[in-house]
């Protein structure tokens, strides 16, 4: 069984590609962990065009229902692609469930995931004081001092989430200043619960059974300092889920798949990509959905072209069966 299109990922880019693929009557498979992408855990999405406000879960269900409305689209979930290689008629995808699927074209919409600090203690105390989800876990830290790592908007928003609960909030950035919106910065600085620490590199997360503190290098005076905190929220950006494509497509230094922004084409014919896994500048749900459509339509044209080319291939092999059999 060879699919026309395999879509990897179920965020807005993958769901949009899935819906358009069904409308083009392509034999389609979607492989994904879940629907909704990184917004799944969002408390409130207010910038999806056409919907004033919804939760991440509502968004996820909306995407899933729209894809599932097309019964011809097959969905493997939860399942994760672990590698891609070239096959005779296109590409072959291996998954964490030890399945192998083949398709003529591929759309990579595997999104991003949260960047980790990469310091000792981070893994050990995951779920034991280190959290990447303030909407989930903020109330668990009632009356405890906590640290939020990252001075961008995401970090500032976590501070806001924690305000009703935590006894003290240290907002820590490795930069010289906070980069998040000035309006949220002002709101945060008004509270006597918060203190901002800049020019600080986190070195270690400390604790026994749970987190009890952290160690950081203060670049202002070149000293290693410790803070006593019961929780550490990490908000230092995201990394693209592009590892499974390995060297097949060109990526930039950040690991983002480089695409032609007119078409969603990657450096590898037949592989298209969209959304946060690519070098798209603006990581936004609405943009990812549009990019997903672009990638799918380009993949559709690609499939039409290889179909046209196949008779020529047959001629060239003088009556022998065509190598590419579409």
């Amino acid at each position: 069984m060879i699919y026309d299109i395999i879509i990897i990922g179920g965020g807005p880019a993958g769901a949009a590609a899935g819906v358009y693929s069904a409308r083009k009557k392509l034999k389609t498979l979607v492989i994904t962990d879940n629907f909704g992408g990184q917004s799944l855990v969002s408390d409130s999405i207010e910038n999806w065009i056409g919907v004033k406000k919804m939760t991440g879960l509502e968004f996820a269900k909306m995407l899933e229902e729209h894809v599932r409305a097309h019964e011809d689209v097959e969905i493997k979930m939860p399942e994760r692609a672990v590698s891609v290689k070239e096959a005779e008629n296109g590409y072959e995808i291996s998954t964490d469930k030890n399945n192998i699927y083949q398709s003529k074209a591929l759309i990579v919409t595997s999104g991003g995931r949260r960047r980790r600090l990469g310091v000792p203690g981070e893994d050990k105390f995951g779920g034991r004081g280190v959290s990447y989800c303030s909407t989930c876990d903020a109330p668990v830290f009632r009356n405890k001092p906590v640290a939020v790592i990252g001075g961008g908007n995401a970090g500032l928003e976590v501070v806001i989430d924690l305000m009703p609960y935590a006894s003290k909030i240290y907002l820590i950035s490795n930069k010289e200043l906070l980069t998040g919106d000035p309006s949220i910065q002002e709101e945060i600085k008004k509270s006597d619960k918060t203190s901002v620490i800049i020019n600080a590199d986190i070195q270690e997360i400390l604790g026994d059974k749970f987190v009890s503190g952290l160690k950081y290098f203060d670049k202002n005076d070149n000293q290693i300092k410790e803070l006593k905190v019961g929780g550490v929220f990490v908000e230092i950006g995201s990394v693209p889920n592009s590892e499974f494509v390995k060297v097949l497509v060109k990526k930039n230094q950040a690991g983002e798949i480089i695409v032609d922004h007119k078409t969603g084409a990657t450096s590898q014919p037949g592989i298209f990509a969209a959304g946060d896994v690519t070098d798209e500048i603006y990581k936004q749900n609405s943009i990812s959905a549009g990019d997903g459509v672009t990638a799918l339509l380009s993949a559709y044209n690609y499939l039409l072209n290889i179909k046209k080319q196949s008779p020529a291939l047959t001629e060239a092999t003088e009556g022998k069966p065509a190598k590419r059999n579409f």
Binding site: V41, L57, G127, C133, V140, F141, Y165, F210, V211
Partner: protein, 77 residues
């Protein structure tokens, strides 16, 4: 029938997904909201060693996070 307790916060998506999963499979459960219930929060941390939600307790066996496969196994679904 297994005794099922779930520790949640109101804004946690994975908590909602876990509860929906229980409802879909007609599993009765007790819900403890750790954002308002101090005792439940301490109980959760002591039982599970976790400071994150959801935590699911099925007859004393602890599952951290929404782990469908683990829940299915314990409830023999």
């Amino acid at each position: 029938m297994a005794k099922v307790t779930i520790y949640i916060t109101p804004t946690c998506v994975y908590c909602k997904m876990t509860k929906e999963f229980f409802k879909k499979h007609n599993i009765a459960y007790e819900e403890k909201d750790v954002s308002v219930d101090d005792k439940a929060r301490e109980e959760m941390a002591a039982k599970s060693g976790q400071l994150g939600v959801p935590v699911v307790d099925i007859d004393g066996k602890i599952i951290a996070g929404f782990d469908k496969e683990a829940i299915k196994e314990l409830l023999k679904l």
